[in-house]
Amino acid sequence: MSLETILFYFFASICAVTSVLVVVRREPVFSALFLVLNFASLAGIYVTLYAQFIAVVQVIVYAGAIMVLFLFVIMLLRPEKEKSIFSGNPTLQKLSIGVGVLVFFQLIYIIIAGTISSGKSVAAEQRIRTGEVEFIGRELITNYLLPFESIAFLLLAATIGALVISKKKFE
């Protein structure tokens, strides 16, 4: 067993356990904290897949910024009633289990069939290069210039929207 495999199973098991804990905890704050751990282990998995930049982004944006907002929302709302959302609605429960099972089998199919990108697999050297921050920087300025500039406008619209919706005294 190579180091990568060991690391993968290490992070994947943390990821699986914390995902379950996020769903079954009664107190939303605990769920949120397990989600932080889940995001961190996902970052580890990204590293084993040679997506180093994505791993860093995962830690900075998701485990950092977005989780802070999650906690803020939980503290603002205190969703006490939501604890009973499933017990009061068995149809919803069955539906969500059904969707989960569907996605699970679809992923199992991808793993077993294993022919997703047949003939499109790239050499290990290139795979490592693709995840590096230098490669991403170059792609952003050349091939992905239009998406890059469009994202500036997307974030601008989000900034205005955040202010319009949630500023207390807006004029």
């Binding site: 990568e4 920087g137 300025i141 955040a162 202010l163 500023k167 807006f170």
Partner: protein, 124 residues
């Protein structure tokens, strides 16, 4: 290769061991003479009443929301900054590398200025 990350993982491992060790060692080695006052919840001298999970008004949630957006901006600037010299010296790209980021930042900074002017960073 993944081996280059071994030092990083080692640091993580030591961090976890150190944190867990410090917390546990105080319970293990410290003197323990509990009484009723010591065991009660510490609430700055107030009597702890009711649930701890009250609704809290977080005044700066707007700042937190804006922080995420600006955080994302930095994510896009970072790979560009790392690669800038090699992009700039590449004859096929040249000053183009500078101006594309300038456009991105101008769009963004106008948004920043807008939030500032509208008082989005004020406490209200």
């Amino acid at each position: 290769m993944i081996e280059t990350y071994i030092p990083l993982f080692l640091v993580f491992g030591f961090a976890i061991i150190f944190a867990a060790g410090t917390v546990m060692s105080s319970g293990l080695f410290g003197p323990q003479r509990p009484n009723e006052e010591k065991l009660s919840t510490y609430e700055s001298g107030m009597k702890p009443v009711g649930t701890a999970f009250e609704r809290v008004s977080i005044k700066y949630y707007l700042v937190a929301m804006l922080f995420i957006i600006f955080d994302l901006e930095v994510i896009f600037v970072y790979p560009w900054a790392v690669q800038f010299i090699s992009l700039y010296t590449d004859p096929a790209i040249g000053t183009h590398a500078f101006y594309s980021m300038l456009l991105f930042l101008v769009v963004f900074e106008i948004g920043f200025l807008y939030v500032y002017k509208k008082g989005g960073f004020k406490w209200d």
